[in-house]
Symmetry: C2
DNA sequence: TCGTTGAGTCAACGCCTGTTGAGCGAATGG
DNA sequence: CCATTCGCTCAACAGGCGTTGACTCAACGA
C-alpha cells in the first residue's frame, strides 16, 4: 500500500500509456468505427474527457495508437529475401505488434488507415523490387507483398482454421516455393 | 413521356432493385459502418423510411445486398485448378461482383461479414483440398486461397498501383508458378 | 506557506444515427 | 364506382456518439 505521491510527469506518462494500450487493443479487435472513446476510457479506467484532453480527437488517438513499426532493413540480394519475408512471418505469427494489427483491421474501411497501409506496402514493394531482376520486378515484388498480406489477413484477422492450426514453420516451409517462384524470371 | 401507371408489383420490384443497387455500391465503397441508411436512400432517390419498410433494418439490408455469388463448379483434378483460380481472377479483375466487393470491404470490421467471408473461403479451401494430394492438402489449399485473397484485397480494395497498372493476363502469368508450387508436394 | 499549475472528473451539448408511426394518394378489384 | 390495399413520404423519437467547458484538488515552485 505504498501510496507514494508519484510525480506529475511520471503520472502523465503512465496514464497516456494506459490509454494508448487500451486503444490499441480495441482498435485491433473492433476497428476504428466500432471502437468508441468511451470504451477506450473504460478499458483504461479513465474518464472519456481525459482521452480527449490527451489526444484532441479520435482520429489523433488512432494515429498515435497504431504507429506502425517502420519497415526495417533493406538491400538484401537475390533469394534470401524470401527467407527474410518468411522470417518476419515467424515473428508475426508469435506476436504481430498490436499497432500493426489495429492498422490492418481498419485498412479497408478507414481512409487514413488505408493510406497508411498503402504506404507501408508500397515501401515493402520498393524494397523487394530492388532485389529482383527483370522488367516486371515491381509486379513480382507486389505479388510477393500481397501474398504475405493475404496470409496475414487470413491468419490474424479472419483467423481461418487451417492457418491457425498449422505451426508457423510448416506454413513457411509450404509457402517458400511460391515466394521463390517470384524472385526472378525463371523461364521467359 | 409515357406515364403508364405501372403495375404495383412491377413498381415494387424496381424500387427494391434501386435500393439494393445503391446499397451495394455504397457498402462496397465505404463498408458497413460508414454507409448510412439515409445515404442509401438518397442514392436510390427514395425516402429513408422506405428502406426500412423494405428491409426491416440495416443488417438485413446488408445481408440482402451482399448475397455473394456461390462458389461454382467443383471436382477439378490436379493442376488445372490453378487455371481455374486464375480464370476467376480474370473475371474478377474485369467486374468483380459488387456484392462480393461489399462483403470483402467489411469483412475485417463487421462480424457477420467476417463470418460470411470465413464461410466462402472455407468452402473454397474444401474444394481445392479435394484436388490436392498429400497430408498437408488443406494447408496448401488454404495458402492458395489466401494468395488469391491477398491479391483481391491489394488490387480491388487497397488499389495498389503496381496491380492496377498491370494487365490481368500478366498478373496471371507471373502468379501462376506460385500457385502451381502449391498444388502438390513436389519434393518432400 | 501560498498562489499557480495541471491531471483528472462531471455534466452537459449538439449532432447524427437507426428506427417508428401516422398519414397521403394512387393503383386495385369486386 | 367505391372501399380497400399498399407504395411512399413526413416528422419525429430515443439513443449513442465525439466533444466541450466548468470545476476539484493534489503536486508544484518560489
Amino acid at each position: 500500500m505504498s501510496e507514494r505521491p508519484l510525480p506529475r510527469a511520471e503520472r502523465r506518462r503512465r496514464t497516456e500509456g494506459k490509454i494508448l494500450d487500451a486503444a490499441r487493443v480495441l482498435f485491433a479487435e473492433m476497428g476504428f468505427e466500432r471502437t468508441t472513446i468511451r470504451a477506450v476510457a473504460r478499458a483504461a479506467e479513465v474518464d472519456p474527457a481525459l482521452v480527449m484532453q490527451y489526444f484532441g480527437n479520435k482520429e489523433e488517438l488512432f494515429r498515435k495508437a497504431v504507429r506502425v513499426t517502420p519497415v526495417p532493413d533493406a538491400g538484401l540480394d537475390a533469394d534470401q529475401l524470401v527467407d527474410h519475408l518468411l522470417g518476419t512471418l515467424t515473428v508475426k505469427m508469435g506476436e504481430l505488434p498490436q499497432g500493426s494489427l489495429a492498422m490492418m483491421r481498419s485498412m479497408l474501411t478507414h481512409p487514413e488507415a488505408a493510406a497508411s497501409a498503402r504506404e507501408v506496402l508500397g515501401r515493402q514493394i520498393d524494397r523487394l523490387a530492388e532485389s529482383i531482376p527483370g522488367d516486371d520486378a515491381r509486379l513480382r515484388a507486389a505479388l510477393m507483398t500481397t501474398i504475405m498480406l493475404g496470409l496475414t489477413v487470413g491468419h490474424h484477422l479472419l483467423e481461418l482454421d487451417e492457418l491457425r492450426d498449422a505451426p508457423q514453420e510448416e506454413i513457411a516451409r509450404v509457402l517458400r516455393p511460391s515466394l521463390r517462384a517470384l524472385t526472378g524470371p525463371e523461364v521467359s
